[in-house]
């Protein structure tokens, strides 16, 4: 059987639960410099980092709440509320710009009726910019829920948007 690596396609998340949150924090708290590791683990479980988890992380790591909040807000990846059911990330960096990415991003925005960085009113699709997926020789590129797509054209971006809306 050929090995195919599928990073969390069609993600499903638990709803926030304090006991479960405490478990996750405890699991990683003994690592050196654990803050990002814990924030990643929380987001992987719940789809975002619930505000209630911040003081719990702070206590577990013997940090102030402000310090953990500072880390949480510094990094683009961490969400303070759940994303839409599907997350469509469009690469907006130079290599994709050179390959016609600007027009495709505008097309996706128009199809979804939202601008980059927003979620549709029905909570189905979150459309986000990403600065480089490292697929610069098969540009323009995108990522739908962890699945990579290169050599985007109008047809492919339309299909991706339609898939995300399902």
């Amino acid at each position: 059987m050929t090995a195919v690596f599928e990073p969390s396609y069609e993600p499903s998340y638990e709803s926030w639960d304090e006991t479960r949150g405490a478990e996750i924090i405890a699991e990683h708290a003994s690592q050196e410099g654990a803050t990002l590791v814990i924030l990643h683990a929380l987001q992987e479980a719940f789809g975002y980092v619930p505000e209630a988890a911040i003081p719990m992380v702070a206590q577990a790591l013997n940090l102030s709440r402000a310090e953990v909040h500072g880390v949480f807000t510094f990094y683009h990846d961490f969400r303070h509320k759940p994303a839409g059911r599907h997350v469509l990330k469009l690469c907006r960096a130079e290599a994709c710009q050179a390959a016609g990415g600007d027009a495709l991003a505008a097309r996706a925005e128009a199809k979804l009726g939202i601008s980059l960085g927003n979620t549709t009113a029905d909570d189905r699709v979150t459309l986000e910019p990403i600065y480089c997926l490292g697929l610069c020789a098969t540009a323009p590129s995108a990522m739908l829920d962890g699945r990579l797509i290169g050599r985007l054209d109008e047809k492919r971006i339309d299909a991706l948007v339609a898939e995300a809306q399902r």
Binding site: Q97, Y131, C136, T138, L148, R151
Partner: protein, 518 residues
């Protein structure tokens, strides 16, 4: 008949359908009763041919590409009956694009199964490590120094000197940190090597640990690279099982282990001191230097922090000797550079070659110009902080000093090609915008200057007091250049000023527009 077929599992190949092709091959083979063994390799780096399918023959591997799912049945039929197929490229090793390269770091990438420690060893893996063990720290340092290797992340600092500093600093603990936060647009060499030959990175870091007396390593990989994270984690596990990580590695007296840490979408964390802050679990705020990370790095301990490609160059240097490596290259740029051809380019991909090849050769000859078929107008070399070069500078040889002499940088070796539809005002504006989005906020010229830069360039785009605002942007760039701690604020002026200098016609509007604005 048991056919061995190679299909890449590289993210760039997967993004254009390599998984589907591999699954289709398996299914089609089953229905035809053909026994196949599908090996998922890294990428050869010829992305215009991906998904590339290679078949083992007594004469070596034969390549087909780009293959889609629907091509698979006819391809298998052709292979089974030994008849020609439309997508046949020929013997992989004879493809001119590959044959012209000097593959030192990428020798195994696309060839071996990146999950297999045995395959790695069968292709010369851990030979550098074995020799390093027999040499001992001082002699390893001498080799690395003599190789002339300079940091491949972009700054080009001599690796031997960095390692020596850490080796000579006394401490209870030392660390090896691999910077795999490859955020520059147009670069993907780190990603390719982590996905295609991860043991090479582990071997390089291990040798570094032995040299400086560090027993723990971290590889900080950006979260945008989930495939690389998975590949490195799998390789680390395999290396531990094989006795190459952990206590008494390879039967020696040395101990070294490492783990993967994942970034969280902050470009600035590619800057080494910001990366160290992030590894420690803090905001990725840049640190002032000195103290150098070599003296006072991760958790305050002496730390070697190098780019993926720097560590990946080490095993060859140890296995084949410093001279073998230094014989490649030109001037003070020794060895080979994995160059990445990207953007609007016909033959995009990874081209590893000795320093000294000209920019024009890379773009026109090797890259084949644009895929849109329009003339090449501008290329950005070295990522979002690199300068835009016009055709007039295509005679620039690819080496650190030659690019610096023309107000550019080679950075991490990425070249992004733009055709004549590019509006350089927009590219200059984007450089400032990107800096504003990604600034860590520590230095005022970077944090605030970038936003003022966006606004001022927008005024120029609208045709408002163009001459005055152009002067203002140039002045602002100078402030950012000299008033920022790290390369984000300090180098954002490169793309902006190079756009202004070499593509002035885009910024100065036609006379009618000027009158309308005033």
């Amino acid at each position: 008949m048991n056919m061995r077929i190679f299909v890449s599992r590289d993210a760039g190949a997967v993004a254009v359908g390599a998984d589907e092709v591999a699954l289709a091959l398996e299914a089609a083979a089953a229905t035809r009763g053909i026994k196949v063994e599908i090996v998922r390799t890294g990428s050869r780096g010829m992305y215009w041919l991906e998904p590339l399918v290679e078949v083992a023959t007594p004469q070596g591997r034969i390549a087909f590409g780009p293959v889609t799912e629907t091509d698979v049945p006819s391809l298998l039929d052709a292979l089974a009956s030994n008849t020609p197929h439309l997508l046949r490229v020929g013997a992989t090793d004879e493809i001119p694009w590959l044959k012209r390269q000097t593959r030192v770091t990428f020798a195994r990438c696309g060839v071996i199964d990146p999950r297999s420690l045995d395959d790695y060893r069968a292709h010369g893996g851990y030979k550098g490590f074995e020799r390093a063990l027999s040499l001992g720290p001082d002699a390893i340092l001498a080799e690395v120094t003599a190789s002339g290797l300079r940091g491949r992340g972009g700054a080009g600092f001599p690796t031997g000197i960095k390692w020596k500093t850490v080796a000579q600093t006394k401490a209870d603990r030392k660390f090896i940190v691999c910077n795999a936060d490859e955020g520059d647009s147009g670069t993907f060499a780190d990603r390719m090597i982590m996905e295609g030959d991860p043991f090479l990175v582990i071997e390089g870091m291990t040798i570094s640990g032995i040299t400086v007396g560090a027993t723990k390593g971290y590889i900080y990989i950006r979260s945008e690279y989930p495939h690389a994270v998975e590949a490195m984690n799998a390789a680390i596990k395999a290396a531990r099982r094989g006795g190459y990580l952990g206590d008494k590695i390879g039967g020696s007296a040395y101990s070294f282990d490492m783990e993967v840490r994942v970034g969280a979408g902050a470009y600035v964390c590619g800057e080494e001191t910001s990366l160290l802050e992030s590894l420690e679990g803090r905001r990725g705020l840049v640190r002032a230097k000195p103290p150098l990370p070599a003296h006072h790095g991760l958790f305050g301990k002496p730390t070697v922090i190098n780019n993926v490609l720097s560590f990946a160059a080490i095993p060859f240097i140890l296995a084949e000797g410093a001279k073998a490596y230094a014989d490649f290259g030109t001037g003070r740029s020794r060895g080979t550079m994995p160059i990445q051809l990207a953007g609007n380019i016909r033959h995009g991909g990874l081209f590893e070659t000795a320093f000294g090849v000209t920019l024009g050769e890379l773009v026109d000859d090797i890259g084949g110009g644009t895929f849109t078929g329009r003339p090449v107008r501008a290329v950005q070399v070295g990522g979002p902080l690199g300068a835009y070069f016009p055709r007039a500078l295509f005679d620039t040889p690819f080496d650190y000093e030659a690019f610096a002499a023309r107000d550019g940088l080679i950075g991490h070796g990425g070249i992004v090609v733009f055709d004549d539809s590019v509006d350089m005002r927009r590219q200059a504006r984007f450089a400032m915008e990107f800096c504003a989005i990604e600034s860590c906020g520590k230095c005022t010229p970077c944090r605030i200057g970038s936003t003022r830069g966006v606004e001022t360039i927008e005024k120029i785009i609208r045709g408002e007091r163009v001459a005055e605002n152009l002067a203002l942007v140039e002045d602002l760039c100078n402030t950012m250049k000299f008033g920022s701690l790290c390369a984000l604020g300090g180098f954002t002026p490169y793309p902006v000023l190079s756009a202004l200098k070499h593509f002035r016609e885009d910024f100065v509007p036609a006379p009618t527009t000027l009158q309308a604005a005033e």
